[in-house]
Symmetry: C2
Subunit: 368 residues, 2 copies
């Protein structure tokens, strides 16, 4: 007889937030030709970060400093806050999980947007919270609707990503600041800024580090090109930041990742070059879409969401054909956003493969 799981675990589905491209490759029996589906930075990390990680490989016998002292201090200087306001963790995914753990138990209400980041929902369910959703509005997350729902349900956590994934849309700093200001005093606004380095300057509202009702998540996975290194951070009011020490894996951060993150942060010139490459690639993807009569949504991220012009079934057929043709891409999961496909920016060679595959996919979707 097996020992019984706790009741909460019994209610959890075995589903996963995302199927990895490697799983699809194994199912197809062939590798993808273009990996432009997971909003990874195919341009890679800074050469200085790569070199720091290569150097650190031979130091892998040592646990990482559990205080992540040098990285926290560097991040604090970068953001003009105290190191006590920085929580380093195993990517935003890990930090979202810890946040849920700190604030959620049986049925505590949470608010997010239907179709927003599924890993947040995975953690909410995993810690027993009750998820309430509001719809997107004009392909954007809807701050007013989120706040209204938070008040209605008495939500403890409110999630918003700015810029948004999977739509690539953005709210300006004033709108987000107003949302912060209007967050209920017994709630925490989980502001996911994973893509903020791709947005126009001034998109992020100024950090008010004494506000205990907002936590901001940043990552080395996107603009810094280190998704596989699993390192991100939260910027939070001091008492909240310290509370993570009660539940985090103190030795959980990979030493190589930490070395890479320090080097990546120090190489802001490389980040600037990446930002320009992403802007250029977004334009190219939009052009490819337009060449086939499709509208690409304006994006402030490292992906472009393309409106396929019909319903979700049509877009799913387009996506299926792209995948069959060796193009790893994804799409929004909820209507009406699921009329779109989502293409991560790539190098010219990746986009050429996409440009070749898209018309065939559209034709296949039409005639299927």
């Amino acid at each position: 007889m097996p020992p019984p799981f706790i009741d909460l675990v019994k209610t959890l589905p075995a589903s996963v937030p995302f199927v990895g491209p490697e799983t699809q490759e194994r199912q197809m029996g062939k590798p993808f030709r273009a990996r432009i589906g997971a909003n990874e930075s195919i341009f890679g990390p800074s050469p200085k970060a790569i070199e720091a990680m290569r150097q650190a490989a031979s130091d892998a016998w040592m646990y990482c400093d559990p205080e992540n002292h040098d990285l926290r201090h560097a991040l604090a200087a970068h953001h003009g806050v105290s190191p006590d306001n920085i929580v380093v963790g195993e990517g935003i995914d890990g930090l979202l999980g810890l946040t849920c753990r700190l604030f959620l138990t049986d049925g505590i209400p949470v608010v997010t947007s239907a179709g927003a980041y599924p890993t947040f929902n995975f953690h909410v369910a995993g810690f027993g919270g009750t998820l309430n959703t509001v719809p997107y509005r004009d392909d954007c997350e809807d701050p007013d609707a989120l706040l209204d729902a938070a008040n209605e349900h008495g939500a403890r956590l409110i999630y918003i990503a700015n810029p948004d994934n999977p739509m690539g849309t953005v709210h300006d700093a004033e709108t987000i600041q107003r949302m912060i200001d209007n967050t209920p005093k017994d709630a925490l606004l989980c502001l996911d800024e994973a893509y903020i380095e791709f947005a126009d300057d001034g998109t992020a509202p100024a950090i008010d580090i004494d506000n205990p009702n907002v936590i901001r998540y940043r990552t080395f996975s996107k603009a810094y090109g280190m998704a596989g290194a699993r390192i991100g951070y939260a910027i939070a009011e001091k008492n909240l930041a310290v509370a993570f020490n009660k539940v985090r894996n103190h030795f959980g951060v990979n030493r190589i990742a930490k070395a890479g993150a320090c080097a990546a942060l120090a190489d802001q010139a490389y980040l600037k070059a990446i930002q320009q490459k992403v802007i250029d690639a977004r334009a190219k993807i939009s052009d490819i879409a337009a060449a086939h009569g499709l509208h690409a949504l304006p994006s402030q991220t490292n992906f472009v969401t393309i409106d396929c012009g019909k319903d979700g079934d049509f877009a799913r057929r387009v996506l299926g054909s792209l995948i069959d043709q060796g193009v790893f891409a994804r799409m929004p999961g909820v209507a009406p956003m699921d009329r779109c496909i989502r293409i991560t920016v790539g190098r010219d060679e990746d986009l050429a493969i996409f440009a070749d595959a898209l018309p065939k996919a559209l034709m296949a979707a039409e005639t299927e």
Copy 2:
């Protein structure tokens, strides 16, 4: 007003399982001369693992395969089980946390030994379990006492490490098998085998993969020399292994670590060489202890626990002096084991520093 943490979090202390050596170095204002305190493998990982990690550094832009397919398959072949029996995670620490999460909530009883691995206790508290402890017996964890306590308290989880940390002692396969056989049917025996590769052949009982009442933890942190890479695994009955998918961070494993682990596992010749180096170094540490009239406990791990021959206060003074002299070491935290200090095996140059510092530490402890 800050949003309220859940009640459980309010009860958790801000303490950490271990203070890292880097923290001590910052406090002292100087680096340690010998890092022989955290049971890291100063001999390092296999050169093939280092090379694999160096190669993988430039692939760090890609998330790791969330199924960890190749590593799980390699581990399954290595252990003669199915890939469905292998859970790869962010070190044993991470896997212990997930185990607690699956099985523990308000006050569910757990049994461990007073003075055993504190990170397990950290996770038990962190998920609301109630920890019950039994004493060590003759410097060994006491399987009979653990089982008696498990029956008495109705424990859901029972923790034992074999070989044991911090004492380095070991039970033979028959004793552990008897413990497995006598584990209550509504309990899970958490068998931490982090140090098993350092033990004599035959120390680990055969894996009975259909037994849902035992889970075995292994790691690349110790014998494979990759503590800073944060990668370990559990071997478990299939339904238990699958349940981890409900709560784990699917994209939580570092891609570089995974590449290193695959290469390390494939290089069993290097592992054998390390095992011999560890045996040799254990003998040297015992000799150093004996040269100063101290008894070293027989060890089947990569550390040696030295009986300082007096009480805990004396041993703490010895340890304090070692640290002052630049030797990073640790000691058991609970009486009567705290009459000992714990020295991780090192290279000859590390042990020479220890050999030089020990008599001075003993003298300082005597006269203080």
